[in-house]
C-alpha cells in the first residue's frame, strides 16, 4: 500500500482550523486552479503548529526536499508556482528559514521535538495512503506480528509515558490494570473532550493526523484485550469529527478495523460518540456516564474504570495525545522515549502557546525544557516587548507561575510544586497588562459554570469564590475577603469529588500566593495595577497633551467629555462609564488611565 506519486511536485496547504481562519482555503483553491495538474499535486494538510505563521504550505520538490512557506498571500502563492515550481528558485521572502523568517525557524522550531505532531501539517489527514506513506500502522504491524500483549504493556510502561490529559498517571500501569481485570468484554476510550478554554492540542492532532491516534488505540486495544473502542469527542470539533469518520471508513476498507485486522486474530471496532461540550465530561467517570446516555456526572472512585467502567466492564481511557505517542514508542522503543525528558517525566509535551506572546501556536517540546525557554525562545516574549509577568499552565485547572519561577522545568512534579499543573497543554502568557485577579476570576467563571453540580464544595464553593473575586474586581472587596477566599479555595481543593473541583481553585491559590499585592491593591487602594478592572479606573485628560481636537468628546457614548475646540477637554467622572473609547481615539496620548 504505497502511494506512488505521478506528480514531480507536491504542495500541502495547511487547512487546520487555524489555517482556515487565516484564509488558507482561498489560497488552496487558487493553487488548485492555477497549478499545472500534471506537474504539481495540491493537497490539504492539517495544522503544522505555527499558528502565528498561517497561512502556510509545505512544498515537496521532486527530489523529496521540503520547503515550508509561511504568512502566505495571493501574490506569494503565485510566485511560488512561478518562481519555485516553474523556475526552481525558492521564494525567499516567504520561506521559513529565509531572511524574513529565520528567527521563527531557528527559535520557534529549533527547540521543539516532534513526536505527536511529527506529521501534522505535512500529510493529508483525509488520506489513509498519505499516512501509510510516512509509516502509519507500521507499529501496529510490528505489534500484531511480533509482540505479545504483555510485551506491549511492558514497552509502554518502560517508556515512562504518563497520561497527557493532565493527571499524569503512568499509561503502562493503567493498561496493566485493565488487562488484569477479569471479564470477557473490555473497552477502550479515546478522550477527545478537550474542554479548556484556549486549548486546541487534541483538536489539531485529530484534524491533522487522525491515523496516529487511531493506530495508538488499536495497539492499546490489543494490549488490554479490548474488543471495542470509543472516541468521545466534543461536537464543537466538526472538522475533527469529519476526518475521524473518514479515517474509520478508510480503515475498515483497508482491513484495519473489523474481525481479522491485518490478517491477524485481532478483532476491534471503533465508534465515535459526540459530546455536548460539558467540561466535566473530560473526567473519566463522567465521560463514561455520558457515553452510557446518563447525565455527565462523576462518581466516586474506586471502583476505577479499569475494573468497572463503561457498562460495568473493564475500561481503559486515554487522552488523544497519550494515544498518539504509542506508535512512536513501539517503533523507536521505550528507551528512545525515556531518553527524552526528566527523571519522572518522559518524552514530549504538546502545548497550545497563547496569550501575550509573539509566536503563538501549537508547540511540542521535550520534557525538561524550562518555561523560560518556551516563553522567551520559542514564543519570543510578549509582542509589545513589555515584561512577561506569568504563565498559566493547565487552563482553568492550572495555576499562574510567576516570571521569577521561569527556570521551572516542564515536568509533572515540578509544575505541581509551583501550585500549577501540567494539565492537558494550555499555556497562556501574561504581561504586565494582565490583571491577575481578573485572570483568576475569568478561569473560575468557567469552572463554576461547568461544575456538574453534584458535590457541595464544587457546586456552591466555586460560585461563592467567584462572587468574592467579582466583588474585588468591582472595587467592592473588603479585607476579610482574602482569608475567606483562601479558606474556600483550600477546602474546595481538598474536598471536591472530582478533579474539576479539586483543581478549580488553582488559579486563585496561585495568584493569591504569587500576586497577593495585586489583590491588596484592589481591596485596600481601590486600584487595579494592570488597569484592567474597569470599575477601578479613572479616565482623565492631560491638559498639557490635549489639543482640543474634540474627537474624544464626539466618540464618548455617554457625553462625559466636555471642552471647547482647541481647549483642553475634561472628563465628567459621574458620567464616565470607563469604556476606554477615548483612549482608543486620542491621537495625542492625552487620556490618562489610573
Amino acid at each position: 500500500m504505497s502511494t506512488p506519486s505521478p506528480h514531480p511536485w507536491r504542495i500541502a496547504v495547511g487547512l487546520g482550523s487555524c489555517g482556515i481562519a487565516a484564509g488558507a482555503t482561498a489560497l488552496y483553491e487558487r493553487l488548485a486552479a492555477r497549478a499545472d495538474g500534471a506537474a504539481v499535486r495540491v493537497e490539504r494538510t492539517g495544522c503544522a503548529g505555527a499558528c502565528h505563521l498561517e497561512p502556510m504550505l509545505e512544498l515537496y520538490s521532486p527530489e523529496g526536499q521540503r520547503f515550508t512557506y509561511v504568512e502566505l498571500t495571493e501574490d506569494a502563492v503565485d510566485r511560488i508556482l512561478a518562481e519555485h515550481v516553474g523556475a526552481g528558485r525558492p521564494v525567499a521572502d516567504f520561506l521559513l528559514g529565509g531572511p524574513a523568517h529565520r528567527e521563527a525557524a531557528d527559535r520557534y522550531l529549533g527547540k521543539q521535538k516532534k513526536i505527536v505532531l511529527e506529521q501534522c501539517g505535512r500529510i493529508d489527514p483525509e488520506s489513509l495512503e498519505a499516512s501509510l506513506a510516512v509509516g502509519g500502522y507500521t507499529a501496529l504491524r510490528k505489534v500484531l506480528g511480533t509482540m505479545s500483549p504483555a510485551a506491549v504493556i511492558d514497552e509502554v510502561t518502560r517508556s515512562g509515558l504518563r497520561g497527557r490529559g493532565g493527571a499524569g498517571f503512568s499509561t503502562g500501569t493503567k493498561w496493566k490494570f485493565a488487562a488484569a481485570a477479569p471479564g470477557p468484554e473490555k473497552y477502550i476510550i479515546c478522550n477527545a473532550d478537550e474542554g479548556d478554554p484556549g486549548a486546541f492540542m487534541d483538536r489539531s492532532v485529530l484534524e491533522s493526523d487522525p491515523h496516529r491516534v487511531l493506530e495508538g488505540m488499536l495497539i492499546g486495544a490489543y494490549a488490554i484485550g479490548a474488543s471495542r473502542g470509543y472516541i468521545y469527542i466534543r461536537a464543537e470539533y466538526p472538522l475533527a469529527v469529519k476526518r475521524l469518520h473518514k479515517a474509520l471508513a478508510d480503515m475498515r476498507a483497508a482491513g484495519l478495523l473489523g474481525s481479522a485486522i491485518l490478517g491477524s486474530g485481532f478483532a476491534f471496532e471503533i465508534e465515535i460518540r459526540e459530546g455536548a461540550g460539558a467540561f466535566v465530561c473530560g473526567e473519566e467517570t463522567a465521560l463514561i456516564a455520558s457515553i452510557e446516555g446518563q447525565r455527565g456526572m462523576p462518581r466516586m472512585r474506586p471502583p476505577f474504570p479499569a475494573n468497572k467502567g463503561l457498562w460495568g466492564k473493564p475500561t481503559n481511557i486515554n487522552n488523544v495525545e497519550t494515544w498518539a505517542n504509542i506508535p512512536w514508542i513501539i517503533l523507536q522503543g521505550a528507551d528512545a522515549f525515556a531518553a527524552l525528558g526528566t527523571e519522572k517525566s518522559k518524552g514530549t509535551k504538546v502545548f497550545a502557546l497563547a496569550g501575550k506572546i509573539r509566536r503563538g501556536g501549537l508547540v511540542e517540546v521535550p520534557m525538561g525544557i524550562t518555561l523560560r525557554e518556551v516563553v522567551e525562545e520559542i514564543g519570543g516574549g510578549s509582542p509589545s516587548g513589555r515584561p512577561v509577568k506569568a504563565v498559566q499552565t493547565g487552563g482553568p485547572s492550572g495555576g499562574c507561575i510567576p516570571a521569577a519561577l521561569f527556570d521551572t522545568r516542564i515536568d509533572y512534579d515540578e509544575l505541581t510544586r509551583t501550585g500549577a499543573i501540567m494539565g492537558s497543554g494550555g499555556m497562556v502568557v501574561m504581561d504586565d497588562g494582565s490583571c491577575m485577579v481578573d485572570i483568576a476570576r475569568y478561569f473560575l467563571t468557567f469552572t463554576a459554570r461547568e461544575s456538574c453540580g453534584k458535590c457541595t464544595f464544587c457546586r456552591i464553593g466555586t460560585t461563592r469564590m467567584l462572587e468574592i473575586l467579582t466583588r474585588i474586581t468591582e472595587g467592592k472587596g473588603v479585607e476579610a475577603d482574602l482569608p475567606l477566599l483562601a479558606e474556600l479555595a483550600e477546602k474546595v481543593r481538598a474536598t471536591s469529588l472530582c478533579a474539576l473541583g479539586q483543581t478549580a481553585p488553582n488559579p486563585v491559590l496561585t495568584t493569591l500566593r504569587y500576586f497577593r499585592s495585586e489583590y491588596e491593591a484592589h481591596i485596600l487602594d481601590r486600584r487595579c495595577p494592570a488597569k484592567v478592572c474597569k470599575p477601578l479606573l479613572t479616565y482623565t485628560i492631560d491638559p498639557e497633551a490635549c489639543t482640543g481636537c474634540t474627537v474624544c468628546a464626539k466618540r464618548c457614548p455617554t457625553h462625559a467629555i466636555a471642552g471647547e475646540r482647541k481647549q483642553p477637554h475634561v472628563v465628567n467622572q459621574e458620567q464616565c462609564i470607563r469604556c476606554g473609547a477615548c483612549v482608543e481615539v486620542c491621537k495625542f496620548d492625552a487620556v490618562l488611565v489610573e
Binding site: 461544575s451 453540580g453 458535590c455 457541595t456 461563592r464
Partner: protein
C-alpha cells in the same frame, strides 16, 4: 467469605469485612459520622461531603461513605480540620438553602410561641388542641390575647399580601373557647423533685416561672405585695381592655397546679431576700416589676393634680374615683398613655388631650389602641413637649414647647427638636405623666441585688436570667429594657428562668435553652422572594366585634368582644405556613447546631422560590433541596425508574421531578417513602405536613 480487615478509628479498633466503608466501620463502633447524602441500602453517592474523615497518610480528607477500609488504616473523625471542613460545608449548603426553619412570627415572639402550629389547629377545627399548643409557651393566653402589643404580627409575611394574621386574637380565641368549657386547661405537673423555689411577684413573669417550674416538679411559693395576683396586668391595664375575671381565671388555674401564694408580702418591707434563703428556698426568682412612673423632670411636677401614669392606672384599677377633673392632659405616646386617656375619659373627664413630642407615626402605642382612643373623643397634640406646670386661677397651666422632627436617632426614629421661641399654654385640671416606668432601685440595692450600670434594671445573664448570685434569678420588667417592658416578654423571661433554674436545681450546667439553628428567607416580609406569595388569595383580616363607642365611655366593660368561631377558623386559614414542616427532624438543622455553622456567612445568589403542588400527596419545595440525590437513587430502586433527576449545570444544578401528575399507586407509595428519606423539607408528604401542624391550609390546590 470476605476476610476481615482491622483498622483504627479515633484510637479504637474496628474489625470489619474487607470492602466495607469507613462509615460502616465507624458505625460498628458507634462512632457517629454525619452524612446527608448517604442512604442505607443505596450505593455511595458522594455529593454532600459532610462525612469526610482524616485518613493517615492521605493529603486530603476522605469521604467515609465511599472510602473502603484497608488493613492498618488509621482514621480520625473529629479533628479540628475535619470539623472546620464540615462547618464550611454546612455553611455553603445554607447559603443556597431558601426556606424558613421557624416562621418569623414565632421567631419574633419573645415567648417563642409555636404560632403556626396553633393557627393550624384552629384552622382545622381543633380548638382543644390549639389551647394545648398555645400553653406550651403562654401560661396566660387569654390575658395576653387582649393586651399584647403583638411584635409577631409586625413580622407576619402576610403583610406583603394585605394584612398580618390576627395571631393574638386567635390565641385569645383558643383561651375563650377553653374558658367556655368551665375548666381552664393547664398541663400536668411534674413528679416532685424536693426542690423549693420562691417567686417574688405574681405578675406575668412570676406566674410564668411558677407555671413552668411546677411542670418540672419543683415546689413554688409566690410572695406578692398586693392582695391579688396579676401585677401590671391587674393594676396597670384598664378593665375595659382586660376584664379582671379573665386574669383571675387564668392565674387561679396556675395556682391550682400546686403553687402556694402569700399576699401582701412586699420585698424590702415585709420580708428580705435573706429571709427566703433562711427559709430554705433552693432558688429565688425576682419578678418585682417596674412599678414607678418616670418623672417628667419639669417644674411643678409635685403640684396636686399631677399624676404618674402607673400610679394613676393602679388607683383607677382599685376602683378609686381618681379626681382628675374635666380637663386632662396625658403626656406620652405609649400604650400606658393611651390607657390613661381612655381611663380618664371613663372617670368623667370630657376634655382629654394626649400630648406627644413626635407625631402619630412615631407613637409606640398600638395603632388600634390609638384609633379607639380617638373614637372615644381623645384630642391629640403632636410635636409638643411639657415645659412647666404652674397653679393657675382655675386649675393648672401646662406650658408646652412646640417641636419639629429632626434627624433619626440611634433607634431609627426621627428625633424631636424644639422650635425656638414657640411655646403655648394649656389650662388643665390634671396632668398625667405616662412617659415610662422605673424599678425600685433603692430597695433592690438594699436587698444586695446587683443592678446594671444605669441602675435601671437587675443585671442578669440574658440567656439564663441568672444574677451574679447563682441561686437568684430575675425576669420581667425589673430586668427588661424599656422596649421589652411588655407582658409577653415577661412571660418569656419567666419560662427562660424556669429552664435555667431547673438546670441549677438539678446541678447541671446553667445554660438556658438548648441552642437551635434557623435559616430565614429574609429578615423582613419584603426581602422574601415575591414568588413566595404566589398562589395565595388576598383576604382581609377580620374586624374584631366591639362594644359600641357610646356604651364604652360610661363603663369599664370590655370593648373587644372576641372573634366568632367561624371568623377564627377562617382567619387561621390565612396563615402562609412559613415554618418548615421538617424543622423538627431536619438533619441539616441538627448538624448546624453541632458544628456551630452560621446560616448567613456567605451571601450571594440563591435558589429561586418555587413550590410544586402537582401531586395530590406530595409537597415539593426545591428551595430547600441540597442535591443529595437520595430521591433520584431511591426512586430508581423502588420503582425501577427515576422519579426525580438532576437538571442544569454549575450552581444552577437542581433536582427536578420526572413523574407525571397522573400517577399510579406504586409511584405514590414510592414518593411517600422518598419524602421520609429526604434529609430536608424539600419533599414532604402533605399528610405528614398536616400532622405536624404545618398543613398548607391557605395554599390553593391545583385546579
Amino acid at each position: 467469605m470476605a476476610k476481615d480487615v482491622t483498622l483504627s478509628i479515633d484510637g479504637r479498633t474496628a474489625t470489619v469485612p474487607e470492602g466495607a466503608t469507613i462509615l460502616a466501620a465507624a458505625k460498628s463502633l458507634d462512632i457517629p459520622i454525619p452524612t446527608l447524602c448517604h442512604y442505607e441500602g443505596l450505593d455511595a453517592f458522594g455529593s454532600c461531603f459532610l462525612c469526610v474523615v482524616e485518613v493517615e497518610g492521605r493529603r486530603n480528607p476522605a469521604p467515609a461513605c465511599s472510602t473502603a477500609v484497608a488493613e492498618g488504616m488509621v482514621v480520625r473523625t473529629g479533628t479540628e480540620n475535619i470539623r472546620a471542613t464540615r462547618k464550611l460545608c454546612l455553611e455553603l449548603l445554607f447559603s443556597d438553602h431558601l426556606g424558613d426553619c421557624l416562621a418569623p412570627c414565632s421567631m419574633t415572639c419573645p415567648a417563642g410561641t409555636p404560632i403556626q402550629q396553633y393557627l393550624n389547629a384552629i384552622g382545622s377545627g381543633q380548638d382543644d388542641l390549639a389551647i394545648q399548643i398555645v400553653k406550651q409557651a403562654l401560661p396566660i393566653p387569654g390575658a395576653l390575647g387582649r393586651v399584647c402589643p403583638r411584635p409577631c404580627e409586625s413580622q407576619c409575611r402576610r403583610v406583603a399580601l394585605e394584612e398580618p394574621l390576627a395571631i393574638c386574637w386567635l390565641h385569645r380565641h383558643a383561651a375563650d373557647v377553653d374558658a367556655a368549657t368551665g375548666t381552664t386547661y393547664v398541663p400536668p405537673v411534674g413528679p416532685d423533685t424536693g426542690k423549693r423555689v420562691a417567686v417574688v411577684g405574681a405578675g406575668p413573669a412570676g406566674i410564668s416561672a411558677a407555671y413552668f417550674l411546677r411542670q418540672m416538679g419543683h415546689a413554688v411559693t409566690i410572695f406578692e405585695a398586693q392582695e391579688e395576683p396579676g401585677g401590671m396586668l391587674r393594676w396597670g391595664i384598664p378593665a375595659y381592655r382586660l376584664p379582671r375575671e379573665e386574669i383571675r381565671r387564668e392565674f387561679q388555674a396556675i395556682l391550682d397546679m400546686g403553687v402556694t401564694i402569700r399576699y401582701r408580702q412586699a420585698l424590702g418591707t415585709d420580708f428580705h431576700l435573706a429571709d427566703l434563703r433562711r427559709q430554705g428556698f433552693d432558688a429565688v426568682f425576682l419578678a418585682v416589676g417596674a412599678p414607678r412612673s418616670s418623672g417628667m423632670r419639669i417644674e411643678g411636677e409635685g403640684l396636686p393634680g399631677v399624676f404618674g401614669g402607673i400610679e394613676f392606672l393602679a388607683r383607677a384599677s382599685r376602683g378609686e374615683q381618681v379626681p382628675v377633673g374635666r380637663r386632662v392632659v396625658v403626656v406620652g405616646g405609649g400604650n400606658t398613655a393611651i390607657d390613661a386617656v381612655r381611663t380618664a375619659r371613663r372617670l368623667g373627664a370630657d376634655e382629654v388631650t394626649l400630648l406627644y413630642r413626635r407625631t402619630r407615626a412615631e407613637m409606640p402605642a398600638l395603632a388600634i389602641e390609638i384609633r379607639e382612643a380617638e373614637r372615644e373623643g381623645t384630642r391629640f397634640r403632636f410635636l409638643a413637649a411639657p415645659l412647666a406646670i404652674r397653679q393657675g386661677e382655675s386649675g393648672l397651666v401646662l406650658s408646652c414647647q412646640q417641636m419639629q422632627l429632626g434627624e433619626p436617632g440611634p433607634d431609627g426614629r426621627r428625633q424631636p427638636v424644639p422650635i425656638a421661641g414657640e411655646t403655648f399654654d394649656l389650662p388643665v385640671d390634671s396632668v398625667i405623666a405616662a412617659i415610662g416606668q422605673r424599678i425600685e432601685g433603692d430597695m433592690l440595692l438594699k436587698e444586695a441585688v446587683e443592678l446594671d450600670r444605669r441602675a435601671s434594671a437587675i443585671a442578669v445573664n440574658p440567656a439564663t436570667m441568672q444574677t451574679a448570685s447563682p441561686w437568684l434569678f430575675a425576669g420581667g420588667d425589673v430586668v427588661a429594657k424599656e422596649s421589652d417592658k411588655i407582658a409577653v416578654w415577661a412571660v418569656g423571661s419567666g419560662r427562660l428562668a424556669a429552664i435555667a433554674m431547673d438546670q441549677y436545681l438539678r446541678s447541671q450546667p446553667v445554660v438556658g435553652k438548648p441552642r437551635t439553628f434557623q435559616v430565614a428567607m429574609g429578615t423582613t416580609p419584603q426581602e422574601v422572594p415575591a414568588a413566595r406569595y404566589e398562589g395565595f388569595t388576598r383576604a382581609p383580616r377580620p374586624q374584631m366585634p366591639e362594644l359600641p363607642p357610646d356604651q364604652r365611655v360610661t363603663s369599664f366593660r370590655e370593648v373587644e368582644l372576641g372573634l366568632t368561631p367561624a371568623m377564627a377558623r377562617e382567619e387561621a386559614r390565612r396563615c402562609l405556613a412559613c415554618g418548615c414542616g421538617a424543622a423538627s427532624d431536619c438533619n441539616l438543622r441538627v448538624l448546624a447546631v453541632e458544628y456551630g455553622a452560621q446560616s448567613s456567612r456567605f451571601a450571594g445568589q440563591i435558589r429561586d422560590y418555587t413550590v410544586d403542588l402537582s401531586h395530590p400527596e406530595i409537597f415539593l419545595e426545591p428551595g430547600k433541596c441540597i442535591n443529595c440525590g437520595i430521591c433520584v437513587r431511591l426512586s430508581q430502586k423502588l420503582v425501577g425508574t427515576e422519579l426525580f433527576g438532576f437538571v442544569h449545570r454549575g450552581f444552577k444544578t437542581r433536582v427536578a421531578p420526572y413523574y407525571d401528575q397522573e400517577t399510579d399507586g406504586t409511584v405514590t407509595e414510592a414518593l411517600l417513602k422518598i419524602s421520609v428519606a429526604c434529609p430536608t423539607g424539600a419533599i414532604m408528604s402533605r399528610e405528614e405536613l398536616g400532622k405536624r401542624h404545618c398543613a398548607c391550609l391557605s395554599w390553593k390546590s391545583p385546579a
